[in-house]
């Protein structure tokens, strides 16, 4: 089942065109190969998890998909448009913005500290849609309501908001472009458990209402289980296993996936010393 390098195979035959497809992705930073021959495919309204630890290359993949890094080789296309190369025009760049959006990990740095949620969302609505004021105001109210913020919160500056509230703003801002794909780059990792559950529920609701596809970048297997249909396990830049999330987590085939699975604390869990002394990489990973 672990076909490293190939695109994840869905259990059901798929006829629909994928909203996101990447083949043979590779990224080098100097002599370091951060991502090595990774391919993936996301169907409309389906969700893919990219799982790995620090240095696995998962964040680099996310940054290549949204265009913040340029792949050394390989292709990426979203909604049928190639995005392996930098956008040539402003129009092109904005169209890409309406295809794929991203929500980052740290809610404290994800918002301009000088902008209220309303201003931040309005800026994005203006950028993408040539709507009259009234239409924009309505859409803004919808988005604020969708992510569960109240009017007062939507008018305060980010520093008056909690981490969970800020992350809701970041989600609303990403959705303002009405993207087909939303990349969640460890988007719930920095939140307290009780808040994390709220945001995960919110993300599930949004998917039901908008049929957006998620690409979840995460190290947290429980979150992956909760939110995604398929999973891709990365280890040192390479795909070591992929398949339906439930199958991969319940019956991992690859030895690294098994180790990852076994490292998650749960009732009755005992930590085990696996690696021999000094085998772990020494230098801090990028």
């Amino acid at each position: 089942m672990a076909e490293a390098g190939g695109a994840p195979v869905l259990e059901a035959p798929v006829l629909e065109a994928p909203v996101l497809e990447a083949t043979g992705l590779r990224k080098e930073f100097g002599s370091l190969v951060a991502v090595d021959d990774v391919s993936l495919r996301v169907q409309p309204a389906r969700s893919l998890a990219i799982v790995g630890e620090s240095g696995s290359g998962k964040t680099t993949i996310a940054r290549m998909i949204v265009g913040l890094e340029r792949p050394t080789s390989g292709t990426i296309s979203a909604c049928g448009h190639d995005r392996s190369r930098p956008a040539r025009s402003v129009r092109d760049r904005r169209r890409r913005g309406r295809e794929v959006q991203i929500v980052f990990q740290d809610p404290y740095t994800s918002l301009d500290p000088r902008q209220s949620p309303q201003a931040a969302i309005d800026e994005i609505l203006r950028l993408h849609h040539g709507w009259p004021d009234q239409r924009r105001r309505e859409r803004m109210a919808e988005l604020i309501d969708l992510v569960g913020l109240d009017i007062r919160q939507s008018r305060s500056l980010p520093r008056a908001l909690s981490g969970g509230q800020r992350q809701r703003v970041a989600i609303a801002r990403a959705l303002a472009a009405e993207p087909r794909i939303l990349i969640l780059d460890e988007s719930v990792a920095a939140l307290d458990v009780s808040i994390q559950a709220q945001v995960l529920n919110l993300l599930a609701d949004i998917r039901d209402e908008t049929s957006v596809s998620y690409v979840l970048i995460s190290h947290d297997l429980a979150v992956v289980r909760q939110l995604t249909d398929e999973v891709l396990v990365l280890h040192r830049g390479r795909v070591v296993e992929h398949g339906p999330t439930s199958r991969v987590l319940d019956d991992p085939q690859d030895s690294y996936t098994r180790r990852l699975r076994a490292s998650v604390p749960r009732p009755g869990w005992k930590p085990v010393r696996g690696l021999p002394a000094g085998k772990e990489q020494e230098a801090s990973s990028p």
């Binding site: 913040l68 402003v90 890409r96 959006q101 800026e123 950028l127």
Partner: protein, 290 residues
């Protein structure tokens, strides 16, 4: 005093050190008041002067305070207070020009380097490193040797000398801002580089820019006065605080220290005010980031 350290408070790549001052609210208010008075005098000073500040009258030389002449007369018998009032204009205007030119160009280079990163940053940074080899005063001496003495040459050369310091500090701040996820989010949205820089990046480092400019003002005032003191800046008989110290220096040994000291005190008071205010702004800018 030196041109070498106007902005050493935050050297990128090196541990950031705050000039820590628990300046009380009182010190801040006093500083703002001094700056306000100095600014008003710079604008309206010539209207306040009671006598012609440039007309010598040797019979009055070194005469002390009295008869409505609060600070007495200088080496050439001119009213010291009138010269101070009129001299405020060049003494304040020079630093203002230096600060505006160096901060605007420095910010420009810093933002471009931080935004483009890579090769553009490397080129700009090495260019700045080379400019560092010229201490401000030396550059001014060189410039006046070539273009002749005067405020324009001095102000231009100081602007060039200060620019790399401004650019280096702001480049660090701009790079930090550039790497913030909210900037990446805007890039992913498809916003243009210029709109992200002008609407988000620069406004967010603006408190630091203002603090930097304020501290720089004090340094520019000192350096310009020093250049005038050397006879290379503002030319006598024009009144300028630096020129006044130079002219009346002989009075110190001859027992008439007041004219030189009065001009010196003006410089020190304004510089302290800008330093204190700048440090408070700097602290606030840093706190605002946390």
């Amino acid at each position: 005093m030196s041109a070498g350290i106007p902005v050493a408070v935050a050297e990128p790549g090196r541990p950031r050190v705050l000039i820590g001052v628990q300046s009380t609210g009182l010190a801040g208010i006093a500083s703002a008041a001094v700056i306000a008075v100095a600014t008003l005098v710079a604008v309206f000073g010539p209207l306040l002067a009671r006598t012609d500040p440039e007309l010598p009258n040797l019979s009055l030389a070194w005469i002390g305070p009295g008869g409505g002449h609060l600070l007495g007369f200088d080496v050439q018998g001119r009213d010291v207070l009138s010269r101070l009032l009129v001299g405020a204009r060049t003494s304040m205007l020079g630093p203002l020009v230096v600060v505006i030119v160096s901060v605007v160009t420095g910010t420009g280079f810093a933002v471009v380097a931080a935004w483009r990163r890579g090769a553009a940053d490397a080129v700009i940074s090495s260019g700045l490193d080379i400019l560092f080899a010229f201490p401000g005063i030396l550059l001014a001496v060189l410039a006046t040797a070539i273009f002749g003495a005067g405020l324009p040459a001095a102000a231009i050369s100081l602007s060039i000398a200060y620019m790399p310091y401004v650019a280096r500090v702001l480049r660090g701040a701009a790079l930090r801002e550039r790497s913030q996820p909210y900037v990446a989010a805007l890039e992913v949205q498809g916003a243009s580089a210029s709109s992200i820089c002008l609407r988000h990046l620069i406004p967010n480092i603006l408190p630091l820019i203002v603090a930097q400019a304020t501290i720089l003002f004090g340094y520019a005032m000192v350096d310009l006065a020093a250049i005038s003191f050397l006879g290379l800046g503002v030319q006598p008989p024009k009144p300028d605080w630096g020129v006044m110290i130079s002219e009346n220096q002989t009075g110190i040994v001859q027992g008439y220290p007041l004219p030189a000291l009065a001009a010196g005190l003006c410089i020190v008071a304004v510089v302290i005010a800008f330093n204190v205010l700048g440090e408070r702004l700097f602290e606030r800018a840093q706190a605002g980031r946390g």
